[in-house]
Structures are given as structure tokens and as C-alpha cells.
Symmetry: C2
């Protein structure tokens, strides 16, 4: 029975319940991201997400209608975050060689630093991309990535430091593949070949190899 201090005026110390929809929603989404990325759509438990949230299970169903919708929002939020980070990359003022090399290293490091995102994409692929297909948001977000590469690549071809005839989309595919695999298959690869792939020195080596590989692939002759 803590007396509510001066009923409605200041956002004072303790109130019985402070409504804060946006924060609750964000909190749920953050917890859901961890849970889904860790255990997958079917492995994650709504009750467990609820427990780890400041809110209650009721709130999950209040803001997101059901488990699958929550998962979809999680996926969308993850893609949005990625695009925001990518947008910071400014390659237009760099020479093509330098720009491409930086893009590759950025992608590699970015994936390595965001395993949650990678895992969500893995999980989404296990589900045949069925949720991603429902999301117009994600579709629209990803147009720009290819544009950046197209720009860099065509500049490079003009200047003669890249060979002709490559498709920017396929180039993006190659860069993605190497950067993605580094995170997605780290556990099995490390265990099978008894090689601590996550160790900083090995990560550095892989980053160099991946960059080197792409650069060798695009250079003339």
C-alpha cells in the first residue's frame, strides 16, 4: 500500500505500475530475438520468453498475436538492424580496389559480430524462407545492397582494375557465402577438424583469406 505520491503530477520514484508500451514491446522483442536465435522457432518457448521479460506472457499475445507473428517481427527487426549498420558504410569516395576490399572485410566482421542474426537466417532457411516471404518489409530493405556493389564494380571495370563480365549479384553471393559460413558452421567445422575457428588469430586468417579470394577473383586476366 505505498501511497501514490501526489496522484498524477511528477514522474516520481515509485508508482504501482508505469505503463510504457514501447519499452515493453522492445523488451519482448529483444528477449524473443535471443530465444528464437538460440533455439529456433519450435525450440523457443513462449513461457520462457515471458519469464525473461519484464512483462508477462499476456503482453506477448497483446502486442504480437501468436508465436509465429512474434517470430516474424523478430526476423524483421534483425534485418532492419543489419541494414542500418550497412548504411553507415560509405564507399563512393574510395578507389574501387580499396572499396571492394573494405566491403568484404566489413561483411565478414559484421556477420562475425552478429551471430544472432546469422542464426535467425539459418533458422529461417530451415523453414524454407516461408516467413521472410510474408514480409514486404524485408523484401524492400534488401534492394540497396546490390546497388552499392554494382556501383563499385562498374567503377572498377572502367578503371581497368576489375575484369569484365561479372554479375554484381553473384559477386554478392560469393562474399555472403564466405562470411556467412564462417559463423553458421563454426561449431561443426571446429569440432570435426579439431581447429578452434573462433580464436582471434584464426578469425584474422580467415578474414584475410576471404578478402584475398574475392580480390583475386575480380582482378583482370
Amino acid at each position: 500500500m505505498t501511497a501514490p505520491s501526489t496522484k498524477a503530477s511528477p514522474p516520481a520514484a515509485r508508482r504501482r505500475r508505469k505503463n510504457n508500451p514501447e519499452s515493453v514491446r522492445a523488451d519482448i522483442l529483444a528477449v524473443a530475438t535471443r530465444e528464437f536465435s538460440e533455439k529456433g522457432l519450435s525450440g523457443a518457448r513462449i513461457d520462457e520468453i515471458a519469464e525473461k521479460t519484464r512483462a508477462s506472457k499476456r503482453m506477448i499475445y497483446y502486442y504480437f498475436n501468436d508465436k509465429e507473428t512474434l517470430y516474424l517481427h523478430t526476423l524483421e527487426a534483425a534485418y532492419q538492424k543489419v541494414r542500418l549498420q550497412e548504411a553507415e558504410l560509405d564507399l563512393d569516395h574510395l578507389a574501387p580496389l580499396e572499396a571492394l576490399s573494405r566491403l568484404v572485410r566489413f561483411t565478414f566482421c559484421h556477420h562475425a559480430k552478429n551471430p544472432d542474426f546469422i542464426r535467425l537466417v539459418m533458422i529461417e532457411n530451415i523453414h524454407h524462407g516461408r516467413f521472410l516471404a510474408q514480409s514486404e518489409l524485408i523484401q524492400s530493405l534488401n534492394a540497396g545492397v546490390i546497388d552499392v556493389l554494382t556501383n563499385v564494380y562498374s567503377r572498377g571495370v572502367e578503371e581497368g582494375c576489375f575484369r569484365e563480365g561479372l554479375d554484381p549479384r553473384e559477386l554478392h553471393w560469393l562474399i555472403s557465402a564466405l562470411s556467412f559460413f564462417n559463423v553458421s558452421n563454426q561449431h561443426t567445422f571446429s569440432r570435426i577438424f579439431d581447429w578452434h575457428q573462433a580464436a582471434p588469430e584464426n578469425q584474422q586468417k580467415l578474414e584475410d583469406h576471404v578478402t584475398d579470394m574475392v580480390m583475386r577473383y575480380v582482378r583482370p586476366n
Copy 2:
């Protein structure tokens, strides 16, 4: 009440129940492979596996103790199958360039033709490779892969058609990454970039690019 014909002698037409342990076990494993690779460890349902089997749920628990053990056996069987197919590859009598190129194409095609295996590895990575770690069988199976590559690579270096200083294990990593990603991320990549990656002509293009990329990576200078 079909009268059992001449009680015990010939393996005649219809009997009430024909005990066939090995076949039942194999059947369960085959169904489990499909279910686990399709829906993951937590997504697959024992009841559903049982339904799709000629046997009953009781038999699953009879031969495999619980869900996780069944999953582990599924994983082991998948790895075994892969190694058997790889063993058919005979590269020792080929020139290094030809041998490496063939190895890359083989890996790429093999992965493409065995999405179940790829998906199981994805799922295993979602579980941090925790089951693979329990299996001495899988650990032992995978030693040979690197040996083959080491052989080809060192021959190539001697003959001067490969550059020095590369680590066969890292080379294997690169080949795996490109071949694996082609299957594992097909759904999200196709959907995001509105590109039918699974189409034969695109698969052919990717196979060529991947091979090309590896060959350019190892060649001298």
C-alpha cells in the same frame, strides 16, 4: 484367421507378423532423417515419425532410447553416407589442376544433391554441435577428407601449378563454404533477391563460378 500355412517351414506368403529387426531399424532411421532434417530436433515429432514408419512408436524407443539418441543416430548415418560417396572419388591419377577442379565440382554437386544432409548439419550447428561432439564415429570419419586435399595440393605445388603457402584445411574450408551456402541459404537468397537460385541454369553458373574462384585462388602469383 488366415491359417498359418505349414506352421514353421517356408518363409511363405503371409504371416501375421514377420520379425525383421534390421529392416525396422533402417526404416525408422530413414523416416527420422526426413523428419529431423525437415523440422529440426525440436520441430520433429516422435508420434509423426512413428506414423510414417511401418513400425510403431514403441519400436522407436526400443531401438533408440529417446528422441535425442535417435537424432544422434540420424546424424551419424548421414555423415557415414556422405563419406561413402566421397570415397568413390579417385583423384590420385589425375593432374593437380584437373584433380582440384573435379574435387570442387564434386563437392558442389554432392551438397546440392543431398539437401537433407546439409539441413542436418545446419540444425546441428543451431545446437552448437553438441551432438556431433558426443560422436566418436563422426570425428573419426572426417580425418580422410583433408588428406585427399593435402595430397592434391602438395602435388600441385611441386609441379608449379599451385602457389605455395596455403593450408589444405583452409582450402577445404573455402570449398565447403561455397558449396554449403549454395544449399543452406537458397531459400532466403532466392526470395530476397528475386532470383531462382535452384534453377538448373543458375546452378550451373554457380558451380562454374565456385570452381573458377577456387582455381584462381590457388594458381601461382
